[in-house]
Protein backbone atom coordinates (compact mmCIF):
# COMPACT_ATOMS: atom_id res chain seq x y z
CA UNK A 1 0.00 0.00 0.00
CA UNK A 2 2.84 2.34 0.87
CA UNK A 3 4.54 1.58 -2.42
CA UNK A 4 1.26 2.17 -4.30
CA UNK A 5 0.81 5.48 -2.51
CA UNK A 6 4.33 6.52 -3.48
CA UNK A 7 3.66 5.57 -7.10
CA UNK A 8 0.37 7.47 -7.07
CA UNK A 9 2.13 10.47 -5.59
CA UNK A 10 4.82 10.24 -8.23
CA UNK A 11 2.23 9.98 -10.99
CA UNK A 12 0.23 12.91 -9.70
CA UNK A 13 3.45 14.87 -9.33
CA UNK A 14 4.39 14.03 -12.90
CA UNK A 15 0.96 15.08 -14.14
CA UNK A 16 1.10 18.29 -12.15
CA UNK A 17 4.53 19.12 -13.44
CA UNK A 18 3.43 18.32 -16.97
CA UNK A 19 0.36 20.52 -16.62
CA UNK A 20 2.63 23.20 -15.21
CA UNK A 21 4.86 22.88 -18.25
CA UNK A 22 1.83 23.10 -20.54
CA UNK A 23 0.58 26.20 -18.71
CA UNK A 24 3.28 28.39 -20.13
CA UNK A 25 0.91 30.99 -21.54
CA UNK A 26 2.53 33.82 -19.68
CA UNK A 27 3.04 37.55 -19.87
CA UNK A 28 5.91 39.29 -18.16
CA UNK A 29 6.54 42.99 -17.78
CA UNK A 30 9.79 44.23 -16.43
CA UNK A 31 11.69 47.44 -15.88
CA UNK A 32 15.31 48.17 -15.19
CA UNK A 33 17.01 51.39 -14.16
CA UNK A 34 20.77 51.73 -14.46
CA UNK A 35 22.43 54.87 -13.18
CA UNK A 36 26.10 55.75 -13.47
CA UNK A 37 27.54 59.20 -12.71
CA UNK A 38 26.98 60.26 -16.33
CA UNK A 39 24.81 57.58 -17.88
CA UNK A 40 21.26 56.63 -17.08
CA UNK A 41 19.37 53.85 -18.79
CA UNK A 42 15.72 52.95 -18.34
CA UNK A 43 14.69 49.69 -19.94
CA UNK A 44 11.03 48.59 -19.97
CA UNK A 45 10.38 45.19 -21.55
CA UNK A 46 7.37 43.00 -22.16
CA UNK A 47 7.48 39.33 -23.08
CA UNK A 48 4.66 36.98 -24.00
CA UNK A 49 4.88 33.21 -24.29
CA UNK A 50 2.15 31.03 -25.75
CA UNK A 51 1.76 27.26 -25.85
CA UNK A 52 0.23 25.75 -28.97
CA UNK A 53 -0.88 22.18 -29.70
CA UNK A 54 1.59 19.47 -30.72
CA UNK A 55 4.36 20.68 -28.43
CA UNK A 56 4.84 23.98 -30.20
CA UNK A 57 5.35 27.22 -28.28
CA UNK A 58 5.89 30.82 -29.30
CA UNK A 59 7.49 33.76 -27.57
CA UNK A 60 7.91 37.41 -28.38
CA UNK A 61 9.46 40.34 -26.59
CA UNK A 62 9.79 44.04 -27.08
CA UNK A 63 12.08 46.31 -25.13
CA UNK A 64 13.28 49.88 -25.20
CA UNK A 65 16.59 51.17 -23.89
CA UNK A 66 16.18 54.84 -23.10
CA UNK A 67 19.60 56.33 -22.56
CA UNK A 68 19.07 59.68 -20.91
CA UNK A 69 22.64 60.89 -20.99
CA UNK A 70 25.90 59.80 -22.54
CA UNK A 71 29.07 58.92 -20.78
CA UNK A 72 32.20 60.90 -21.55
CA UNK A 73 34.10 57.68 -21.08
CA UNK A 74 32.14 56.22 -23.97
CA UNK A 75 33.63 58.69 -26.38
CA UNK A 76 31.30 61.64 -26.61
CA UNK A 77 33.24 64.90 -26.67
CA UNK A 78 30.68 66.75 -24.58
CA UNK A 79 28.82 65.03 -21.78
CA UNK A 80 25.56 66.71 -22.65
CA UNK A 81 22.16 65.48 -21.70
CA UNK A 82 20.28 63.83 -24.55
CA UNK A 83 17.88 61.04 -25.12
CA UNK A 84 18.75 58.09 -27.28
CA UNK A 85 16.48 55.14 -27.78
CA UNK A 86 17.29 51.56 -28.69
CA UNK A 87 14.36 49.36 -29.60
CA UNK A 88 14.54 45.60 -29.71
CA UNK A 89 12.04 43.02 -30.82
CA UNK A 90 12.50 39.28 -30.56
CA UNK A 91 10.51 36.32 -31.83
CA UNK A 92 10.99 32.66 -31.11
CA UNK A 93 9.36 29.33 -31.83
CA UNK A 94 10.04 26.08 -30.06
CA UNK A 95 9.02 22.48 -30.56
CA UNK A 96 9.22 19.86 -27.84
CA UNK A 97 9.18 16.16 -28.49
CA UNK A 98 9.35 13.61 -25.72
CA UNK A 99 12.90 14.32 -24.57
CA UNK A 100 14.11 16.70 -27.23
CA UNK A 101 13.54 20.39 -27.77
CA UNK A 102 14.42 22.59 -30.73
CA UNK A 103 14.08 26.37 -30.98
CA UNK A 104 14.47 29.01 -33.64
CA UNK A 105 14.88 32.66 -32.62
CA UNK A 106 15.28 36.04 -34.25
CA UNK A 107 16.09 39.42 -32.76
CA UNK A 108 16.22 42.88 -34.29
CA UNK A 109 17.70 45.88 -32.54
CA UNK A 110 17.70 49.44 -33.83
CA UNK A 111 19.03 52.78 -32.66
CA UNK A 112 20.13 55.93 -34.42
CA UNK A 113 23.59 54.61 -35.27
CA UNK A 114 23.45 50.85 -34.80
CA UNK A 115 21.24 48.17 -36.32
CA UNK A 116 21.44 44.47 -35.65
CA UNK A 117 19.77 41.35 -36.98
CA UNK A 118 20.46 38.11 -35.12
CA UNK A 119 19.12 34.62 -35.66
CA UNK A 120 19.98 31.40 -33.91
CA UNK A 121 18.78 27.88 -33.35
CA UNK A 122 19.16 25.51 -30.43
CA UNK A 123 18.71 21.81 -29.82
CA UNK A 124 18.67 19.99 -26.50
CA UNK A 125 17.85 16.52 -25.35
CA UNK A 126 17.61 14.77 -22.02
CA UNK A 127 18.61 11.24 -21.15
CA UNK A 128 19.57 9.02 -18.22
CA UNK A 129 16.14 9.22 -16.64
CA UNK A 130 15.79 12.92 -17.50
CA UNK A 131 18.68 13.77 -15.20
CA UNK A 132 21.15 14.75 -17.93
CA UNK A 133 20.67 17.41 -20.58
CA UNK A 134 22.91 18.12 -23.54
CA UNK A 135 22.26 21.27 -25.52
CA UNK A 136 23.82 23.18 -28.38
CA UNK A 137 23.09 26.46 -30.11
CA UNK A 138 24.41 28.24 -33.17
CA UNK A 139 23.57 31.46 -34.92
CA UNK A 140 24.74 34.57 -36.65
CA UNK A 141 24.22 38.29 -36.49
CA UNK A 142 24.53 40.99 -39.11
CA UNK A 143 25.10 44.41 -37.63
CA UNK A 144 25.52 47.84 -39.19
CA UNK A 145 27.48 50.55 -37.41
CA UNK A 146 26.52 54.05 -38.45
CA UNK A 147 28.70 57.15 -38.39
CA UNK A 148 27.20 60.55 -37.77
CA UNK A 149 30.43 62.53 -37.52
CA UNK A 150 32.99 61.05 -39.93
CA UNK A 151 33.64 58.51 -42.66
CA UNK A 152 35.99 55.79 -41.43
CA UNK A 153 38.27 53.78 -43.69
CA UNK A 154 35.88 50.83 -43.91
CA UNK A 155 33.09 53.09 -45.13
CA UNK A 156 35.24 55.16 -47.49
CA UNK A 157 35.50 52.24 -49.92
CA UNK A 158 31.74 52.00 -50.32
CA UNK A 159 30.96 55.67 -49.95
CA UNK A 160 28.42 54.90 -47.26
CA UNK A 161 28.42 56.25 -43.74
CA UNK A 162 28.24 52.84 -42.14
CA UNK A 163 30.33 49.72 -41.69
CA UNK A 164 29.25 46.09 -41.26
CA UNK A 165 29.94 43.82 -38.32
CA UNK A 166 29.19 40.15 -38.86
CA UNK A 167 29.39 37.43 -36.27
CA UNK A 168 28.80 33.72 -36.02
CA UNK A 169 28.42 32.16 -32.63
CA UNK A 170 27.68 28.84 -31.01
CA UNK A 171 28.08 26.76 -27.91
CA UNK A 172 27.39 23.50 -26.15
CA UNK A 173 26.29 22.80 -22.62
CA UNK A 174 25.79 19.85 -20.34
CA UNK A 175 23.60 19.85 -17.24
CA UNK A 176 23.50 16.99 -14.76
CA UNK A 177 21.17 16.45 -11.82
CA UNK A 178 23.51 14.96 -9.27
CA UNK A 179 21.02 14.28 -6.49
CA UNK A 180 17.53 15.46 -5.49
CA UNK A 181 19.15 18.64 -4.18
CA UNK A 182 22.20 19.18 -6.42
CA UNK A 183 22.66 20.23 -10.06
CA UNK A 184 25.79 21.05 -12.06
CA UNK A 185 26.36 22.52 -15.50
CA UNK A 186 29.25 23.25 -17.87
CA UNK A 187 29.17 25.42 -21.01
CA UNK A 188 31.60 26.18 -23.81
CA UNK A 189 30.83 29.17 -26.04
CA UNK A 190 32.56 30.79 -28.98
CA UNK A 191 31.95 33.68 -31.36
CA UNK A 192 33.72 34.84 -34.49
CA UNK A 193 33.41 38.55 -35.24
CA UNK A 194 34.42 40.20 -38.48
CA UNK A 195 33.96 43.88 -39.24
CA UNK A 196 33.99 47.22 -37.45
CA UNK A 197 34.58 46.44 -33.78
CA UNK A 198 35.49 49.86 -32.36
CA UNK A 199 33.36 52.66 -30.99
CA UNK A 200 32.73 55.18 -33.82
CA UNK A 201 33.10 58.16 -31.47
CA UNK A 202 35.81 57.32 -29.00
CA UNK A 203 39.22 58.94 -29.45
CA UNK A 204 42.57 58.19 -27.86
CA UNK A 205 44.21 61.30 -26.43
CA UNK A 206 46.92 62.62 -28.73
CA UNK A 207 46.33 59.94 -31.37
CA UNK A 208 42.83 60.17 -32.76
CA UNK A 209 39.96 57.78 -33.29
CA UNK A 210 40.53 54.35 -31.83
CA UNK A 211 41.30 51.51 -34.21
CA UNK A 212 40.40 47.91 -33.44
CA UNK A 213 41.49 44.78 -35.28
CA UNK A 214 38.86 43.77 -37.81
CA UNK A 215 38.52 40.22 -36.52
CA UNK A 216 38.06 38.69 -33.11
CA UNK A 217 37.43 35.19 -31.83
CA UNK A 218 35.87 35.06 -28.40
CA UNK A 219 35.81 31.95 -26.25
CA UNK A 220 34.30 31.26 -22.84
CA UNK A 221 34.23 28.27 -20.54
CA UNK A 222 31.83 28.31 -17.62
CA UNK A 223 30.71 26.01 -14.85
CA UNK A 224 27.80 26.31 -12.44
CA UNK A 225 26.60 24.29 -9.49
CA UNK A 226 23.58 24.54 -7.23
CA UNK A 227 22.72 22.90 -3.93
CA UNK A 228 19.56 23.09 -1.84
CA UNK A 229 19.26 22.62 1.92
CA UNK A 230 15.63 21.54 2.46
CA UNK A 231 15.64 21.89 6.24
CA UNK A 232 16.79 25.50 6.00
CA UNK A 233 14.76 26.23 2.84
CA UNK A 234 17.93 27.73 1.47
CA UNK A 235 19.71 27.22 -1.82
CA UNK A 236 23.20 28.07 -2.96
CA UNK A 237 24.47 28.66 -6.49
CA UNK A 238 28.06 29.25 -7.52
CA UNK A 239 29.49 29.84 -10.95
CA UNK A 240 32.81 30.52 -12.57
CA UNK A 241 33.58 31.70 -16.07
CA UNK A 242 36.89 32.02 -17.89
CA UNK A 243 37.10 34.10 -21.05
CA UNK A 244 39.83 34.62 -23.62
CA UNK A 245 39.87 36.07 -27.11
CA UNK A 246 42.38 36.11 -29.92
CA UNK A 247 42.86 37.19 -33.52
CA UNK A 248 41.71 34.31 -35.74
CA UNK A 249 43.86 33.16 -38.62
CA UNK A 250 46.96 34.85 -39.99
CA UNK A 251 47.89 38.22 -38.57
CA UNK A 252 47.57 41.22 -40.90
CA UNK A 253 50.69 42.55 -42.58
CA UNK A 254 52.78 44.62 -40.20
CA UNK A 255 51.31 43.06 -37.08
CA UNK A 256 53.79 40.81 -35.31
CA UNK A 257 51.76 39.59 -32.36
CA UNK A 258 48.16 38.83 -31.49
CA UNK A 259 46.55 42.23 -30.81
CA UNK A 260 43.82 40.63 -28.69
CA UNK A 261 44.50 38.37 -25.72
CA UNK A 262 41.89 39.88 -23.41
CA UNK A 263 41.34 37.47 -20.54
CA UNK A 264 38.74 37.61 -17.82
CA UNK A 265 37.49 35.58 -14.88
CA UNK A 266 34.08 35.88 -13.30
CA UNK A 267 32.94 34.37 -10.03
CA UNK A 268 29.39 34.65 -8.79
CA UNK A 269 27.49 33.31 -5.83
CA UNK A 270 23.77 33.38 -5.11
CA UNK A 271 21.91 32.49 -1.94
CA UNK A 272 18.16 31.82 -2.11
CA UNK A 273 16.18 31.71 1.11
CA UNK A 274 12.46 31.23 1.52
CA UNK A 275 11.22 33.70 4.13
CA UNK A 276 7.60 32.49 3.96
CA UNK A 277 5.61 30.21 1.64
CA UNK A 278 5.15 33.11 -0.79
CA UNK A 279 8.23 35.24 -0.24
CA UNK A 280 11.80 34.47 -1.24
CA UNK A 281 14.95 36.55 -0.97
CA UNK A 282 18.02 36.21 -3.15
CA UNK A 283 21.45 37.57 -2.36
CA UNK A 284 23.91 37.82 -5.21
CA UNK A 285 27.58 38.72 -5.32
CA UNK A 286 29.67 38.85 -8.47
CA UNK A 287 33.31 39.70 -9.09
CA UNK A 288 34.87 40.22 -12.48
CA UNK A 289 38.59 40.52 -13.24
CA UNK A 290 39.90 41.52 -16.64
CA UNK A 291 43.30 41.93 -18.29
CA UNK A 292 43.40 44.22 -21.30
CA UNK A 293 44.22 43.11 -24.85
CA UNK A 294 47.67 43.82 -26.26
CA UNK A 295 46.59 46.83 -28.31
CA UNK A 296 44.87 48.64 -25.44
CA UNK A 297 46.70 51.90 -24.79
CA UNK A 298 45.44 54.58 -22.44
CA UNK A 299 48.03 57.27 -23.04
CA UNK A 300 47.09 59.57 -20.13
CA UNK A 301 47.22 56.68 -17.70
CA UNK A 302 50.21 54.94 -19.23
CA UNK A 303 52.51 57.43 -20.96
CA UNK A 304 54.85 54.72 -22.19
CA UNK A 305 52.35 52.80 -24.30
CA UNK A 306 52.25 53.19 -28.06
CA UNK A 307 49.88 52.10 -30.80
CA UNK A 308 50.44 48.54 -31.95
CA UNK A 309 52.19 47.94 -35.29
CA UNK A 310 53.24 50.41 -37.96
CA UNK A 311 52.39 52.72 -39.59
CA UNK A 312 51.01 54.56 -36.61
CA UNK A 313 48.19 56.05 -38.67
CA UNK A 314 46.69 52.59 -39.14
CA UNK A 315 47.85 51.02 -35.89
CA UNK A 316 45.53 49.34 -33.46
CA UNK A 317 44.91 51.51 -30.44
CA UNK A 318 42.13 51.95 -27.92
CA UNK A 319 41.63 53.50 -24.53
CA UNK A 320 38.15 52.05 -24.09
CA UNK A 321 37.66 51.60 -20.33
CA UNK A 322 35.54 48.53 -21.00
CA UNK A 323 38.50 46.57 -22.36
CA UNK A 324 41.21 48.00 -20.15
CA UNK A 325 42.46 46.50 -16.91
CA UNK A 326 39.25 46.20 -14.98
CA UNK A 327 37.73 44.85 -11.83
CA UNK A 328 34.03 45.06 -11.10
CA UNK A 329 31.96 43.94 -8.14
CA UNK A 330 28.22 43.59 -7.95
CA UNK A 331 26.29 42.87 -4.75
CA UNK A 332 22.53 42.67 -5.11
CA UNK A 333 19.47 41.77 -3.08
CA UNK A 334 16.21 40.63 -4.66
CA UNK A 335 12.75 39.86 -3.31
CA UNK A 336 10.42 37.48 -5.14
CA UNK A 337 6.80 37.40 -4.00
CA UNK A 338 4.05 35.06 -5.22
CA UNK A 339 0.85 37.09 -4.89
CA UNK A 340 -1.36 34.15 -3.90
CA UNK A 341 -2.50 35.96 -0.76
CA UNK A 342 -4.38 38.46 -2.94
CA UNK A 343 -6.88 35.82 -4.00
CA UNK A 344 -9.52 37.04 -1.57
CA UNK A 345 -9.06 40.78 -2.18
CA UNK A 346 -11.37 42.41 -4.72
CA UNK A 347 -9.61 43.72 -7.85
CA UNK A 348 -6.18 42.58 -6.64
CA UNK A 349 -7.24 38.95 -7.01
CA UNK A 350 -6.76 39.37 -10.77
CA UNK A 351 -3.05 39.50 -10.09
CA UNK A 352 -2.96 36.71 -7.50
CA UNK A 353 -1.66 34.10 -9.93
CA UNK A 354 1.42 36.14 -10.70
CA UNK A 355 4.80 36.81 -9.18
CA UNK A 356 6.33 40.17 -8.32
CA UNK A 357 10.03 40.80 -8.04
CA UNK A 358 12.21 43.74 -7.14
CA UNK A 359 15.96 44.02 -6.79
CA UNK A 360 18.60 46.58 -6.03
CA UNK A 361 22.30 46.24 -6.71
CA UNK A 362 25.41 48.38 -6.71
CA UNK A 363 27.84 47.95 -9.59
CA UNK A 364 31.38 48.94 -8.63
CA UNK A 365 33.84 49.67 -11.46
CA UNK A 366 37.43 50.72 -10.95
CA UNK A 367 37.57 52.73 -14.18
CA UNK A 368 36.32 56.08 -15.43
CA UNK A 369 32.71 54.93 -15.81
CA UNK A 370 32.29 55.05 -12.04
CA UNK A 371 29.92 53.08 -9.86
CA UNK A 372 26.30 52.45 -10.77
CA UNK A 373 22.98 51.87 -9.05
CA UNK A 374 20.89 49.11 -10.61
CA UNK A 375 17.17 48.80 -9.80
CA UNK A 376 15.01 46.15 -11.40
CA UNK A 377 11.38 45.23 -10.95
CA UNK A 378 8.92 42.98 -12.72
CA UNK A 379 5.67 41.07 -12.68
CA UNK A 380 4.96 37.79 -14.41
CA UNK A 381 1.53 36.19 -14.73
CA UNK A 382 0.06 33.16 -16.48
CA UNK A 383 -2.98 33.86 -18.63
Amino acid sequence: LKRAAVCLLALSGALLSRSAVRAEDRVTIRGAYFREPSTRVIQPVVEITKDLPHGVDLNAHYLVDTITSASAAAGTSVDSIFTEIRSEVGLGIGKTWDRTRATLSYKYSAESDYWSHAGWTSLSTTFWGNTATVGAFAGLSRDTVGFNQRTPACAARTGERSCPLNSEFGGIGYTQVLSPVAVAQINVDGAYLDGFLANPYRQVAGIGYEVFPDKRFRTALSARAAYYFPAAETGLQVQYRYYRDFYPGALPTGVSADPWGLTASTVEGRIYHRLSPNLEVRFLYRQYFQQSPAFWCDVPANVGCTPMSVPVSQAYVSSDPAIGPLRTEYPEVKLIWDAASWESIPFFRWFAAGTFEISYGRYFQNNSFGDAHVLQTGYSMPY
Binding site: W128, N187, A226, T266, Y288
Partner: protein, 72 residues
Amino acid sequence: LLVVAALAAAGVAGCAHPPPPPVQPWQREYLARRALRFDADPLEDRFRQHWYGAREGADLGFGQPGGGCGCN
Protein backbone atom coordinates in the same frame (compact mmCIF):
# COMPACT_ATOMS: atom_id res chain seq x y z
CA LEU B 1 42.76 -15.22 -17.30
CA LEU B 2 42.25 -13.44 -14.00
CA VAL B 3 41.43 -10.23 -15.85
CA VAL B 4 38.87 -11.98 -18.04
CA ALA B 5 37.35 -13.63 -14.98
CA ALA B 6 37.19 -10.31 -13.17
CA LEU B 7 35.52 -8.64 -16.16
CA ALA B 8 33.01 -11.48 -16.45
CA ALA B 9 32.23 -11.26 -12.74
CA ALA B 10 31.80 -7.53 -13.04
CA GLY B 11 29.44 -8.01 -15.97
CA VAL B 12 27.37 -10.54 -14.06
CA ALA B 13 27.25 -8.15 -11.13
CA GLY B 14 25.76 -5.47 -13.36
CA CYS B 15 28.81 -3.24 -13.74
CA ALA B 16 28.67 -3.61 -17.52
CA HIS B 17 25.32 -1.77 -17.57
CA PRO B 18 24.91 1.94 -17.02
CA PRO B 19 24.14 2.86 -13.44
CA PRO B 20 20.56 3.91 -12.66
CA PRO B 21 19.73 7.62 -12.76
CA PRO B 22 20.77 9.44 -9.60
CA VAL B 23 17.27 10.90 -9.11
CA GLN B 24 13.93 9.17 -9.52
CA PRO B 25 10.72 10.97 -10.56
CA TRP B 26 9.36 11.01 -7.01
CA GLN B 27 12.55 12.68 -5.76
CA ARG B 28 12.23 15.82 -7.87
CA GLU B 29 10.38 18.06 -5.46
CA TYR B 30 13.24 20.47 -4.91
CA LEU B 31 14.53 20.54 -8.48
CA ALA B 32 11.78 23.00 -9.44
CA ARG B 33 12.95 25.54 -6.87
CA ARG B 34 14.58 28.68 -8.23
CA ALA B 35 17.73 27.87 -6.33
CA LEU B 36 18.24 24.71 -8.39
CA ARG B 37 17.37 26.21 -11.76
CA PHE B 38 19.87 28.05 -13.92
CA ASP B 39 17.15 29.43 -16.22
CA ALA B 40 14.80 30.82 -13.59
CA ASP B 41 15.17 34.47 -14.68
CA PRO B 42 15.67 34.66 -18.47
CA LEU B 43 14.69 38.33 -18.81
CA GLU B 44 16.97 39.32 -15.97
CA ASP B 45 19.77 37.30 -17.57
CA ARG B 46 19.20 39.10 -20.86
CA PHE B 47 19.39 42.52 -19.21
CA ARG B 48 22.51 41.58 -17.25
CA GLN B 49 24.24 40.21 -20.31
CA HIS B 50 23.56 43.37 -22.28
CA TRP B 51 24.82 45.57 -19.47
CA TYR B 52 27.94 43.47 -18.88
CA GLY B 53 28.58 43.44 -22.62
CA ALA B 54 28.57 47.25 -22.67
CA ARG B 55 30.77 47.71 -19.60
CA GLU B 56 33.12 44.73 -19.72
CA GLY B 57 35.24 43.29 -22.49
CA ALA B 58 34.30 39.65 -22.02
CA ASP B 59 30.94 38.77 -23.48
CA LEU B 60 29.51 35.24 -23.82
CA GLY B 61 29.49 32.36 -21.43
CA PHE B 62 25.99 31.09 -20.75
CA GLY B 63 24.44 30.43 -24.11
CA GLN B 64 23.01 33.83 -24.95
CA PRO B 65 23.52 35.36 -28.38
CA GLY B 66 24.67 38.88 -29.06
CA GLY B 67 23.15 41.56 -31.23
CA GLY B 68 22.45 45.21 -30.60
CA CYS B 69 24.58 47.84 -28.98
CA GLY B 70 23.20 50.64 -26.80
CA CYS B 71 26.76 50.91 -25.59
CA ASN B 72 26.85 54.52 -24.43
